[in-house]
Symmetry: none
Subunit: 302 residues, 2 copies
DNA sequence: GCCTGCGGCGCGTTTTCGGCAACGGCCTCC
DNA sequence: GGAGGCCGTTGCCGAAAACGCGCCGCAGGC
């Protein structure tokens, strides 16, 4: 990048503390460095280095300036990396923010399928609640977000939104296991294990219970679905989970799940999306396409 | 700043969609623009504009590049502002996108207060509906946005959100003027003047009317609050406006306003915010701080 | 007292940049 | 269907900026 030579130069001078050494490092003469430096200082309206007998040192304005210089250099690197991602599919980087429910089954399976096709693409999965996921999208920290939210659509560009029925989770040898469908009141005959209030699923359950005059007094609360699952496997407890995150019989986990009647608990939605107006890298766009199609297959209307 | 001319140029070309027009805007010839553009594209390794018969348009790589370009331009402004702050000049530039309701009273008053402290700071106010305001933030066209939205929080980083009760606007000598509070049905005994549907306030009114079985058949519709105000002053008409934009008695405008009972019309919210993750210039940050405090004073809970 | 390494500066050369004019493509209007 | 207009593009040439070179004055250290 041509227009950044002055910046690279300033960075070098600040780092080495000497105009001549910086000049040597950049393979030009000291006078050239000196000129560019003075030109830049005149643009800013004040010097950024104090001249000492044995070299130069940043002054107060220089401390501000060097921060800016390094930031711009870093930003330029980032652009180049993004452009490289855009150009080729084989190399690439996809980062996804998702709710905890996606971590045990859905996302690893999808990433596995994708990696089989494009092994050189690196993945990054960040588990976040839906508010933080939106923030991560906007800060360009992640390319895609896949979150469950019972309240309403999150403020990013939604590629697909699919309903998520609730399933009751129980030990494989639980009396209720193997049923085709459960009413909510049947579940309440057993102790409950619920996620903490930070999770979207909790709200759905509480609202449904309140609507029927029951109070939600869980035997156990946890912010980890993994822990809930482990607890359920070892007790008569019932837990709830959205479809995409619920275990199925035969996975050898000692837990299984049964759908709860739709008329008892309203379904929340799974939202898959990206930052509004952003153009994704080829790798990310392709992965987004695959996930969208899979969600459509599994949960699409019909 | 010399080294950013290429960036300013690219920004202009992207904005105007034409090399020649951008050249004219920057007071140079089209060939010069063309050369810089090609040089930049060769540095990147791939074109960022697709050439069309009637101009140019950003391609996928260009979308990445333009974001980077605008960010660097904005960052440079910020550096200048901080340096000015260091020197003691307090030169700076603050640009704000806002809803129309903010233009008659609130924003000019706040900018006036700020300018009294820092006279060298220049301001730019762009009136936009809330969707466009979010876009302007993301394109680095403005530093801050202050918008009214009845539907929900806009997708930027919200510095403060305050509720906005609705006031009924009428001529100073209107029979309803001077009342402490009005019920919605009292207003309906007079002809209505409403903003067009593009405005957030319109939705609030319509929903409230519909909920009570009334139909909104305004005598007058306009997309200009100034025009509504002038019309109200000369007739028996009633108009509605959110608190921050409503005229008060004694301003010599011939119009006044009375709050509408909160149980009749739900309050929308005023959202004040910036682009997520962006660090503002000193001038903009200071102004944001002032506005946030003022909104908190006037509309904060309590 | 000499030597070394430092920032600063004037001069001649090289490279870059911008303006001018002209070309070919596409669209529209007559 | 042809003329005119707007577009991006390119060759040419003069102006301006950048660069390298050599030199100066200065401050420490051996």
């Amino acid at each position: 990048m041509k227009h950044l030579t002055t910046f690279r130069l300033i960075d070098e001078v600040a780092r080495l503390g000497s105009i001549r050494r910086a000049a040597e490092a950049m393979a030009i003469t000291a006078s050239a460095v000196q000129r560019r430096l003075i030109a830049f200082e005149e643009e800013l309206g004040e010097p950024i280095f104090e001249r000492l007998p044995h070299g130069v040192r940043l002054n107060a304005a220089g401390e501000l300036a060097i921060h800016h210089v390094r930031q711009q250099l870093a930003e330029t690197d980032r652009l180049r990396s993004r452009l490289a991602d855009l150009t080729g599919v084989r190399r690439g980087h996809v980062s996804v923010a998702c709710s905890q429910a996606l971590t045990p089954y859905f996302l690893p399976e999808e990433i596995g399928r994708y990696s089989a096709l494009y092994p050189a693409v690196r993945f990054e999965v960040m588990v976040q609640e839906h508010g933080a996921a939106s923030g991560a999208l906007e800060a360009y920290l992640v390319d895609l977000a896949l979150v469950f939210d019972a309240a309403g659509p999150p403020p990013f560009e939604i590629l697909i939104a699919v309903p998520q029925p609730i399933r009751a989770m129980m030990a494989a040898d639980h009396p209720l296991a193997g049923r085709g469908e459960l009413r909510l009141r049947e579940c309440l005959e057993y102790p409950l294990a619920l996620p903490t209030r930070a999770f979207g699923g909790r709200m759905l359950i509480e609202r449904s219970l309140a609507a029927r005059g029951f109070s939600a007094t869980p035997e156990l609360e946890s912010n980890s679905f993994e822990y809930l699952k482990a607890h359920v496997a070892r007790s008569r407890t019932i837990a709830f989970q959205i479809d995409v995150g619920a275990p199925r019989a035969g996975a050898g986990e000692g837990v299984t799940s049964v759908p709860v009647a739709a008329r008892d608990v309203h379904a929340g939605s799974l939202y898959f999306g990206q930052l509004k107006g952003r153009t994704l890298s080829v790798a990310a766009a392709r992965f987004a396409d695959q996930v969208t199609r899979r969600l459509e297959e599994r949960f699409g209307m019909g």
